[in-house]
Amino acid sequence: MPESIPTVALTTEKDVRIVEFTNSKILDEANIADIGNTLGSLIDEKAAPKLLLDFATVEHLSSAALGMLINVNNRIKQKNGQLRLANIKPQIFEVFVITKLNKLFRILPNRAEALASFNQM
């Protein structure tokens, strides 16, 4: 199932699902829907899902992509799961600041710190 989806790459570290975007712009409607569906199926996998989104390759996004991320965040919260965002480039991080979504999401500088942050709760 996951390997047939080209927009993200999935790995697992202990009980954390790590999602890496393989397309530099999560902007395209079709792309966003695709990513949303993939993340949705990861959330459905477990009772309290732990998801880490790695933004290392992301050079661009849009309000539609932000909407998708908020939806993912809401669904994870409903299931008492945890979501972390990591490796966000400064230009992209600024979009989170302008929209004040840096207050809504748990954003960590890198993957290691993001992984470590899951245990603190």
Partner: protein, 168 residues
């Protein structure tokens, strides 16, 4: 100078399958790109790519290019999806004037229009978890000026090619 780009969208070109946009080169004042497209994502992205190619060709710095790319995407989505509701019978008109120092983009749809003041603030605490409503905020944050006319059906955005400026 002038039409030094190697793109096949010059006015005399017959290479394009269907000619939907027109390009008017006004050399010193900047290039004017005009498009009339049906309301779908494919045409939307073609237009965005054509305008961004020109922005880059005109030497806009990476920050200004990022800003234009973001605002253009939001404005085009507003026109195609929220304005024209993806109705293929409704068109979107786009005009972009790009000089080395400033980009002016006008986008007009055939939808019901909207009132800017009626759009709730997406950064308010109670709206932070809502999935939509951030496009306009981003346009206004990243462009130097954004103005709606014709009952909200027409938007004009201006971005200067300035170094090291930060969105407000």
């Amino acid at each position: 100078m002038g039409m030094s780009g190697s793109k096949s969208r010059g006015s005399g070109s017959s290479g394009d399958k269907k000619k939907r946009g027109s390009v008017v080169d006004t050399a010193t004042t900047g290039l004017s790109l005009k498009f009339k497209i049906p309301s779908d994502f494919k045409h939307q992205h073609e237009v965005q790519n054509a305008i961004l190619d020109e922005v880059i060709r005109r030497g806009f710095n990476s920050q200004s290019t990022f800003a234009i790319k973001l605002a253009l995407e939001e404005a085009m989505i507003n026109a195609v999806k929220h304005g024209n509701k993806l109705n293929p019978k409704k068109s979107v008109l786009i005009e972009a004037k790009i000089s080395p120092t400033v980009a002016e983009i006008v986008i007009e749809d055939e939808g019901p229009g909207f009132d800017r003041k009626s759009v709730p603030d997406p950064t308010a605490e109670e709206n932070l978890e809502k999935c939509s409503g951030r496009g306009i905020l981003l346009m206004e944050a990243y462009m130097n000026s954004v103005k709606w006319t014709n009952g909200g059906r027409r938007v004009k955005m201006v971005k200067k090619n300035e170094a090291d400026e930060h969105p407000r």
